[in-house]
């Protein structure tokens, strides 16, 4: 069975979702969801190990060989991404806070877990398929399940947030479809490898350019790159906190992967950066995102909204790495995918614990909680330090590579701006620390049970571990970056 792993990792959560509808009992469904997530994680780590030793794995669905059939192709980048997504899922799904802040009656909870599994299946599908149309289908599976998950938040504003995400997400998805159509019209193929072979001689064509533009805009909407980010803060704020943790830590990463795949594998860095000079568009957008996101985060009164705006800033860092198109820059961007997934997942889970105890996610709710809930609050502080990029945390590693990449290009001002924007992060993180540890305690609460703080600490502990021990993260990211830039994986 082991040669089928790259198909099974997508098929398992996809088929596990309907099983939730048959099991129905909340506790059973919950255990089942966790088991599936764990199984996926084991498969993902196995695949990563196999890709790193044996090179890219290709799997043809239904026995139809590519480029005719649908190919699932795993190289260093996909496998790295699978590991990120499944690890986050394996930590978030069993968390005691998974149901916190959801507006679901007892008899309907199994549907919530089915939606979580479908979302996971979609994310894994986008990351592993080598067929462009397949990407669109999985993008829509992910999006549809996340609209439902977001709309399940307690507040009625969750509904309007989900609706505006639905409108934006559908426009983005349809743009992707249109872009795929243009490419198919010119080349007659949907397979990414095949496209990469056929496109170089067609790059002069307007149709290809239009297709590229639509793919980039569609992907950017899904990634919430700075001017297209409007849907993100509301969606993350109103969703149940565990859903925010899962989606913030995985969905944007997968969209980032999609953009990187389109730019580097399908079109090639030479076309995108040397002929189109796209980095002169991406670089200002990334810088604007870093500053606008961090500035907006400073003024937020809701913890989840604060983290959402900080996510926009962090997406800016990742896009910055993309726009450098050099090994150091891409390594920084890709390693930031992993590190940001750890810290945002951990921080949102910490917020979930706060919501569990205080029933509110406003910044004032954590007033004085540093003494009442020391474990959760300590996790929040360390996650915040990692967002700033303090040495010893994972956030430092990725920013280090970004700065190195910027210096390599001779973009000294960009390197300075990276440091400056980190200083803004100090402001909003310090605000949290001040309120949590020096504020007056307004809620008389105790620490959350172990099954709620442990997942938070696994992720936050991860930011500490991978802040010092960077073999796996940076090693995987740099081989992924080399694979993207056309070297041997």
């Amino acid at each position: 069975m082991s040669e089928h792993l790259s198909a099974l990792i997508v098929v398992l959560p996809l088929l596990a979702a309907p099983v939730c509808l048959l099991l129905r009992h909340t506790a059973m469904v919950r255990a089942w969801t966790s088991i599936v997530a764990w199984a996926c994680m084991i498969m993902a780590w196995t695949l990563l190990e196999r890709v790193q030793t044996g090179g890219a794995i290709s799997y043809s669905m239904g026995g139809w060989d590519p480029p005719l059939g649908i190919e699932y192709r795993l190289d260093a980048l996909n496998a790295y991404l699978l590991v990120i997504v499944t690890t986050i899922a394996a930590v978030v799904f069993p968390s005691g806070t998974i149901l916190t802040g959801t507006a679901l009656p007892e008899g309907k909870r199994h549907l919530y877990f089915a939606a979580l599994l479908l979302c996971l299946a979609g994310l894994l599908g986008i990351s592993s398929t080598g067929d462009l149309f397949n990407v669109f289908v999985f993008v829509e599976i992910t999006s549809l399940s996340s609209y439902t998950l977001i709309s399940l938040g307690k507040d009625r504003r969750a509904l309007t947030a989900a609706f505006s995400y639905l409108v934006m997400g559908t426009i983005g998805g349809t743009f992707l479809l249109l872009g795929i159509g243009f490419l198919y019209q010119v080349t007659g193929t949907l397979n990414m490898q095949d496209l990469a072979l056929r496109l170089p001689e067609l790059l002069e064509s307007r149709t290809v350019l239009a297709g590229f533009a639509f793919l980039m805009v569609g992907g950017s909407i899904k990634l919430a790159v700075f001017p297209l980010h409007q849907w993100l803060p509301n969606a993350y704020t109103q969703a149940p906190p565990a859903v925010s943790a899962f989606i913030a830590a995985t969905a944007t990463k997968v969209s980032y992967y999609l953009l990187a795949r389109v730019i580097f594998t399908i079109f090639g860095a030479a076309f995108v950066f040397d002929a189109l000079h796209l980095h002169w568009l991406m670089l200002p957008m990334a810088l604007a995102a870093m500053f606008a996101g961090s500035f907006a985060a400073v003024f937020q009164t809701d913890l989840k909204r604060l983290l959402a705006y900080s996510s926009i800033a962090q997406i800016g860092y990742m896009v910055l790495g993309l726009s450098m198109a050099s090994e150091a820059g891409l390594t920084g961007g890709i390693v930031h995918l992993f590190n940001h997934a750890l810290m945002k997942g951990g921080l949102f889970l910490a917020v979930a614990s706060v919501v569990m105890r205080t029933g509110s996610s406003s910044v004032n709710a954590i007033s004085g909680l540093g003494r009442k809930m020391p474990i959760t609050m300590a996790a929040m502080v360390i996650g915040g330090l990692s967002l700033i990029g303090v040495p010893g945390t994972a956030g430092f590693v990725s920013k280090w590579y970004l700065v190195v990449g910027a210096l390599e290009h001779g973009w000294y001002s960009v390197a300075v701006l990276i440091l400056l924007s980190s200083l803004i992060a100090v402001v909003y993180v310090w605000r949290l620390v001040e309120i949590a540890f020096f504020g007056e305690a307004t809620h008389d609460v105790c620490e959350v049970p172990w099954n709620s703080w442990l997942p938070t600490w696994i992720l936050i502990g991860g930011t500490l571990v991978f802040g010092l021990w960077t073999d796996v993260t940076v090693g995987g990211a740099s081989s992924a970056a080399r694979a993207l830039l056309g070297g041997t994986p």
């Binding site: 549809l144 504003r157 609706f163 559908t170």
Partner: protein, 122 residues
């Protein structure tokens, strides 16, 4: 005149702009969804017209006559659009379900009123 020869793409562009304009300009959420539907249908039209081969027939290989020399239409875009239609239906269903719940929670489905109520709440 060359531009008129590709009239099918003009139809696609027109539909797409109508859809996008409706999504942006209309306040009622159901009307927004209708616009979104038109927008998606324009892309479906684009694919389907792409698969048309002049003089081509339905791509089914006949048993009796030899298959050589028969000109077929390209079936792949149609197959792809079957999936896209299903995606569109699912999106519409989720969107309408959200509108129903929004209407229940707020008592209205007009965007400006929703924004006012959300603004008052926060």
């Amino acid at each position: 005149m060359e531009a008129l020869g590709v009239w099918n793409y003009w139809v696609v562009v027109l539909l797409m702009m109508i859809g996008l304009y409706t999504v942006i300009a209309r306040d009622h959420l159901v009307k927004k969804l209708i616009g979104l539907g038109v927008f998606q249908v324009s892309v479906i039209m684009f694919y389907v017209s792409m698969g048309k081969v002049t003089g081509g027939t339905a791509p089914i290989i006949p048993d009796e006559v030899p298959a050589e020399g028969i000109l077929y239409s390209n079936p792949l875009p149609h197959v792809l659009m079957l999936t896209a239609i299903v995606v569109g239906v699912a999106t519409l269903a989720v969107g309408l379900a959200l509108v129903v719940r929004i209407r229940e929670a707020y008592g209205t489905a007009e965007e400006d009123e929703l924004q006012r109520m959300n603004g008052a709440q926060s």
